[in-house]
């Protein structure tokens, strides 16, 4: 056996050594890779050239399409290194070693050759684990029970970190059932094994509940339901949490929202809240729902809220206005383009229904249906999303009662509607009855709107909704 010591310096070329005769050739599959073996630990790593293995079908060259790692990254055995393509076949190349990537021999879209070096990996042997452990295909050179075992005729797969955990806890890897890919032993498997030993019960982790696909041994896994019902009992063992913080840049739509919300907070907000008795409206809607259904429209409460708001805005047009940047002029908008806050995958978007002042409740409902289906398909247009003059946010569909909504510039008012709750209330005769109560929270721009105006608008809006028949008098 030829042994070479190489400093962990990426500029030094790898020196060839002879094959070690103990190779298990059948496990080698296609590769003809060189390997270095040491009998003593050395503090610096060795650079190994990982060559592109045979793809099959006599293919000699492929195109590198994607790198999953970059120089300096650390990799474990079986981690994906890159994706190459050859004649309609996409091949995932995985690492044979644990170590640090020191050099990528190709750039994206370059042609790579089978049998030639793909990456250089620095194998770090100073972790205190004997080098044989790093490569599973070799038969055990040492007889350490902890780290390298055969279960019923095949070898155990486990990363060095897992092997170390087993060693620290004096666990024989052969006694642990692996639940990872190819029956790899995972950290969770070691922890589960430990728990069984100490008699304590571990809180179920998601991985532990997955039934191992095709276990090579005959033992069937415990049913996941049993684990889920057990209450976790604190165990005095090191809890290994490998979560890491993740930082992402704010881009696109979210970046725009940051701008808008920052501008919004510059507006001096004041709030005004109230309670609306929707008992009569609930009854009315139940009657009208089937009629709308026949016409192909789903009727919710929103069209009523929006129409009532528009009627209110006719009396208090200052709420449908806009203040210019220098706060010198107020523009009273003629159209009531009432925005409806919509929760989508992307986040909060606010499409608006144009000219509510000339729309019937049915027309508003129909338009809302159109906006809702476009919204969920992610296909709203610029026209749908711009030009709003007043906004209603029905946060109650998700939950909540009172809220403190933020005005969307360039508007000057916004209303947040809580959920409808069935609550006991007193009627005129002093009797308790079942009432359908909804809370509304208004916010308005205090630079041009005063509390009294907001209160009067709210009262008018409330009266229309508490007594829907009164809307008939003022409908245009």
């Amino acid at each position: 056996v030829c042994i070479h010591r190489v400093r962990s310096c990426s500029s030094i070329r790898f020196i060839k050594s002879k094959y070690v005769c103990v190779f298990d050739k059948s496990a080698l599959k296609f590769s003809h890779q060189q390997r270095l073996f040491r009998t003593s630990a050395v503090s610096c790593g060795q650079i190994v050239q990982f060559k592109l293995s045979d793809i099959g079908e006599g293919i000699t060259e492929v195109t590198v399409k994607e790198w999953y790692i970059k120089e300096g990254d650390s990799v474990s055995q079986f981690d994906s290194i890159c994706e190459v393509q050859s004649d309609k076949a996409s091949v995932t190349i995985t690492s044979r070693y644990d170590g640090i990537i020191r050099k990528l021999h190709y750039n994206l879209d370059e042609i790579a050759y089978v049998g030639k070096p793909l990456v250089d990996i620095e194998i770090d042997a100073s972790k205190g684990v004997a080098p044989e452990e790093d490569v599973v295909e070799t038969p055990p050179m040492s007889h350490e029970e902890h780290t390298h075992q055969e279960i019923k005729g095949h070898k155990t797969l486990a990363t060095p970190a897992v092997r170390r955990l087993a060693m620290e806890n004096n666990i024989k890897l052969s006694e642990v059932v692996g639940t990872g890919k190819d029956n790899r032993i995972l950290k969770e498997d070691i922890l589960n094994y430990l728990a069984k030993q100490t008699g304590a019960i571990l809180p179920p982790s998601p991985k532990a509940e997955i039934i191992p696909p095709l276990p090579k041994s005959e033992t069937l896994p415990a049913a996941p339901k049993d684990k889920a019902r057990k209450i976790p009992v604190p165990v005095s063992r090191p809890i290994v949490f490998s979560g890491k913080d993740k930082t992402e840049p704010i881009t696109g739509f979210h970046k725009a929202m940051v701008k808008t919300m920052s501008a919004a907070l510059k507006i001096p907000h004041f709030g005004y809240c109230d309670e609306i008795d929707l008992t009569q409206l609930v009854r009315l809607r139940e009657e009208l729902k089937p009629l709308a259904q026949i016409r192909g429209v789903k009727l919710s409460f929103m069209p009523f809220f929006m129409k009532a708001a528009s009627l209110g805005l006719l009396q208090y047009p200052i709420l449908n206005a806009s203040l210019d940047e220098s706060c010198q002029n107020v523009t009273y908008k003629a159209s009531h383009n009432i925005g409806v806050a919509m929760d989508t995958e992307q986040g909060l978007i606010v499409p608006n229904v144009k000219n509510v002042q000339v729309c019937s409740v049915f027309e508003i409902a129909s338009e809302l249906n159109r906006l809702q289906s476009l919204g969920s398909a992610g296909q709203l247009g610029t026209n749908d999303l711009s030009g709003g003059t007043f906004t209603l946010s029905n946060i109650g569909t998700i939950g909540g009662t009172y809220a403190k909504p933020v005005i969307l510039p360039p508007e000057v008012a916004i209303g947040a509607l809580g959920k409808i709750q069935v609550l006991p209330r007193f009627n005129g005769k002093g009797e308790v009855f079942k009432a359908q109560i909804m809370n509304v929270s208004w916010s308005a721009d205090h630079r041009i709107i005063d509390g009294a105006t907001m209160a009067r608008f709210s009262n008018l809006w409330k009266s229309y909704l508490e007594n829907p028949a009164s809307m008939l008098l003022d409908l245009k």
């Binding site: 599959k29 793809i55 099959g56 079908e57 399409k65 994607e66 079986f78 994706e83 393509q85 050859s86 004649d87 309609k88 076949a89 996409s90 091949v91 995932t92 995985t94 994206l108 879209d109 890919k181 190819d182 997955i210 039934i211 696909p213 095709l214 276990p215 090579k216 069937l220 840049p249 881009t251 696109g252 739509f253 970046k255 725009a256 929202m257 701008k259 808008t260 501008a263 806009s322 210019d324 940047e325 523009t331 992307q346 978007i349 398909a377 992610g378 296909q379 709203l380 247009g381 610029t382 026209n383 999303l385 711009s386 030009g387 969307l408 510039p409 360039p410």
Partner: protein, 373 residues
């Protein structure tokens, strides 16, 4: 030969997966034929991933049969903007999926059948699989002129492509899948596979367009069911197993643990669009505004589906320079996606000077930008 329902097996797949010897005697070389009950392209692609990642193919090969409701499927390293008409897909609600194997873009609908041959990496052999398909077709209809080309296509009458192939090789497992046109909508196929986007420069794998034909056009008595059955029978014969097709449900976590996560991943924007190799767009368009026509030139670099660099060349002063640079800055880092751009642009409008003229110009420019996506 019409497939009888008695041939479709009720044998629990989980039993087959857990006790490999069940249902097969030791003299068989080991094979399994499964068919998906779902027509959802993402679920079916997830089944392929699952089998590739979790199934032991040492002693057993698998044939997976599946069909999808209308979808366009692009290869692992392709550019969807280059390959298909995304606008049309959105309008018609046709799904877009990116598979993990290489190759070109195909259109799937219920008139197309998909076949996936799973083996160990050592036993990966595409020509054999395709010859099996041709043999099955000839057994069903001896007069059919079908043969395999060296590009791994199957041609009808030496002229029309009826099947395309792609493959995926992993560390220990491999699969080869192919399509087979029985009775697909050729009109939709040709319109969705034509890209309207101009000025794209990319190293993504391009598709090779071909004239296609349905087997149905040659012989109207053929149905997808018949083709599936014939191929399954030929596979069963060659692998010396029972001609038994096991149905699987790609939503069943008990049989395929972890499958729903795989399905979800295939649907994410980051996989479908974000995996597009870096490309650039250099194009110009005319905008008609009131009485004038304006020339706008756009240059963008898109990486991981996001706009890395954005340059918009407008006639001077058409938009206030501050606003115009604001738009360029906001688009940088944003997804190359019409929805993202629309919501971004309309949100930004809220903090612009409130001027109707300005707003209509802004909206016009943004709508034209969106047409590029």
């Amino acid at each position: 030969m019409v497939l009888q329902s008695s041939l479709k097996n009720c044998l629990q797949l989980s039993c087959i997966l857990r006790t490999p010897k069940a249902g097969f005697n030791s003299t068989t070389s080991g094979g399994l034929i499964i068919q998906s009950v779902s027509n959802d392209v993402y679920q079916n692609l997830a089944v392929e991933d699952w089998i590739h990642d979790h199934m032991n193919l040492e002693n057993r090969q698998v044939l997976f049969l599946w069909r999808n409701s209308p979808a366009v499927v692009i290869g692992r390293h392709q550019n969807p903007w280059q390959e298909c008409n995304l606008r049309l897909l959105r309008q018609k609600n046709i799904k877009l999926a990116r598979r993990r194997s290489g190759g070109g873009t195909v259109y799937h609908d219920l008139g197309n059948i998909n076949l996936t041959f799973f083996t160990t990496r050592k036993k990966y052999e595409r020509m054999e699989n395709l010859k099996l398909v041709v043999k099955a077709l000839k057994a069903l209809r001896p007069q059919l002129d079908v043969h395999v080309t060296d590009r791994y296509d199957i041609l009808l009458d030496r002229q029309y492509k009826i099947s395309g192939t792609a493959a995926k090789l992993g560390r220990t497992a491999a699969y080869h899948h192919c399509t087979l046109l029985c009775n697909a909508d050729k009109f939709v196929l040709s319109s969705v596979l034509k890209s309207p986007y101009k000025g794209l420069k990319s190293n993504a794998t391009p598709s090779v367009p071909a004239s296609v034909k349905n087997l149905f056009e040659k012989d109207p008595s053929l149905t997808c069911e018949m083709l599936l059955d014939a191929i399954a029978e030929e596979y069963a014969t060659q692998h010396q197993i029972d001609h038994r097709i096991t149905l699987i449900n790609p939503a069943d976590e008990t049989v395929l643990p972890g499958i729903n996560n795989k399905t979800k991943e295939l649907q994410t924007w980051d996989w479908v669009y974000g995996k597009t190799p870096k490309f650039s767009i250099s194009t110009c368009f005319n905008m008609v505004y009131k009485d004038s026509v304006l020339d706008v030139k756009v240059d963008m670099d898109v990486k991981h589906g996001r706009i890395e660099v954005c340059n918009i060349d407008l006639p001077e002063q058409w938009l206030p320079p501050a606003l115009w640079s604001e738009l360029e800055k906001s688009l940088t880092g944003s997804k190359f996606c019409p929805n993202e751009t629309t919501t971004l642009a309309t949100t930004l409008l809220r903090v612009c000077p409130q001027d109707d003229e300005l707003h209509s110009r802004w909206n016009l420019l943004c709508e034209n930008m969106i047409m590029l996506m």
